[in-house]
């Protein structure tokens, strides 16, 4: 344990595979995709999505939740409550001034935005909700978690598109290194399955068009992949300096050992085909963890199922790590939850380390021959894993890589 070692002591997940870490882990290990035709997207060029099943906010969050929380906040509250309970910390007695909250979010309350904009156009300004702004601004998710847990330390949202959740966890470790906090509630949340957002991604050509077979549309690293399938969810970790966690007798589930970030400075949305930005983030993350590329046993890939991402990412991984490390992508099982994805996948990487088991990449039938990696498919694979990497890459060319190690 180095002085910089950060422990994961709590974990919470809300995904299309289910509510709770256990349901999500089971769904991902069973490679059981839940994408379906989405009635809220009917008539749009793409109408498939992965959504959280049976999410009753009034019951799960609180009776007034639907009035004051957009869905991206509701998902985060449920994941964060699970993570904090799991940590064994008691928000009633902790020193709230030393507890930070950092949450990644790419979009914010887009459903609220769309509904209220329609009201503005149809009915006029007098009918627009006074709660519009508090419902839609992305930073409100961190604000609500502060209120929920009495967390009065540094509190903010990171926005690096599809890397937001990983950026949040990386920045959270820096708050612990700098002694700004003793505990950070760190994660990501997104509820972007809305008509306007889905149409926007469809117009970009980023989404899969396998509308007649939604369950198998998201197929990372498969030769026949044709785009991502949008999802939603939240992943939250409770992070502490490992020395503090050990001193209080907490269960250390894994360590966040390293973090690297970079920008492609190449194109608005396409990854740099040379992979220079991703490579730089990977190298920085490994160096900050004090490990070398040859130490990496496993990679939880960004693996979106878009032709461009998976090609560029696999090239970079092969270049840096060779073919020794196993690779998986959760996006076949739970879709691409944008700003939440990096945090959900970091949480899944913690579970991978704990269980010493690599979950399979759902829907991977024919590995793209250009992908020269050991991508796990079909069923979970038992493996000795000491060092794992979780990749996240965002539109805007923003890259965030986490190194997690077994406790």
């Amino acid at each position: 344990m180095s002085a910089r070692s950060v422990a994961v002591t709590g974990l919470g997940l809300v995904t299309a595979a289910g509510i709770g870490a256990e349901a999500t882990w089971r769904g991902v290990c069973e490679a059981r995709p839940t994408a379906r035709r989405d009635p809220t997207l009917q008539g749009l060029p793409v109408d498939i999505s992965y959504t959280v099943p049976e999410f009753n906010a009034a019951k799960l969050v609180g009776r007034r939740s639907n009035l004051v929380h957009d869905r991206f906040v509701q998902l985060a509250v449920v994941a964060a409550r699970e993570a904090v309970a799991d940590s064994g910390l008691d928000p009633r007695t902790w020193d709230g001034a030393r507890v930070g909250v950092v949450v990644g979010c790419g979009l914010g309350g887009v459903s609220t935005w769309e509904q209220q904009h329609r009201i503005l156009l149809d009915e006029g300004p007098g009918s627009v909700s006074a709660l519009l702004i508090p419902l839609l601004v992305p930073n409100m998710v961190a604000g609500h978690l502060a209120m929920e847990f009495g967390a009065r330390g540094p509190n903010f949202v990171t926005a690096t598109a599809c890397a937001s959740g990983a950026t949040a966890i990386g920045v959270a470790t820096q708050l612990l290194h700098d002694d700004q906090c003793d505990v950070v509630i760190a994660g990501g949340s997104e509820a972007g399955v809305s008509p306007l957002i889905v149409t926007g991604f469809a117009r970009m050509g980023a989404l899969s068009r396998r509308l007649d077979e939604p369950a198998t549309a998201s197929r990372p690293f498969d030769a026949d992949r044709d785009g991502f399938v949008i999802g939603e969810g939240s992943g939250v970790l409770v992070l502490e300096r490992e020395a503090d966690a050990r001193a209080r007798g907490a269960r250390v589930r894994a360590r966040v050992a390293g973090y690297g970030a970079s920008a492609d400075a190449h194109h608005m949305t396409a990854p740099d085909p040379s992979g220079a930005g991703a490579l730089q983030a990977l190298r920085t993350a490994l160096a900050s963890a004090g490990v070398s590329p040859g130490d990496v046993d496993h990679v939880n890939a960004h693996g979106t199922s878009t032709p461009l991402n998976d090609a560029a990412e696999s090239k970079v991984l092969h270049q840096l790590l060779g073919a020794r490390a196993t690779v998986t992508s959760a996006k076949g099982a739970v879709g691409h939850s944008l700003g939440a994805a990096g945090a959900i996948e970091a949480a899944l990487t913690v579970l991978t380390l704990e269980n010493q088991t690599v979950p399979p990449t759902a829907n991977l039938e024919n590995l793209d021959p250009a992908v020269e990696l050991d991508v796990v498919a079909k069923s979970p694979r038992a493996q000795r894993i000491d060092v794992a990497v979780s990749n996240s890459f965002g539109f805007g060319g923003q890259n965030a890589v986490l190194v997690l190690t077994s406790a």
């Binding site: 007034r64 009035l67 007098g126 009918s127 909700s129 006074a130």
Partner: protein, 81 residues
């Protein structure tokens, strides 16, 4: 109390998740944990559901439900007469 009071109670219960048993004429909106944002929202719903016109300042968090019902009743009467 008046018919307007009863209508507002129904709106508070059905739209603002307030427990019916907590609502009494001399209870304030603040007592029900309804701040100024909720009040703007409440008046919006009153206008839409009851088809009346009320000003944005017809009720404030420190008003009682009974007093707010009276003001809304007066303003509604003025707009419909």
């Amino acid at each position: 109390m008046t018919a307007m009071y009863d209508k507002i109670v129904d709106i508070l219960v059905n739209r603002f998740e307030v427990e019916r048993s907590e609502i009494k004429p001399d209870v304030t909106f603040e007592d029900l944990e309804m701040d100024s944002l909720f009040l703007v929202e409440l008046l919006l719903v009153v206008e839409k559901e009851l088809g009346v016109k009320v000003s944005d300042d017809a009720a404030s968090p420190r008003d009682t439900i009974g007093r707010a019902a009276e003001v809304i009743e007066e303003q509604a009467a003025a707009t419909t007469s």
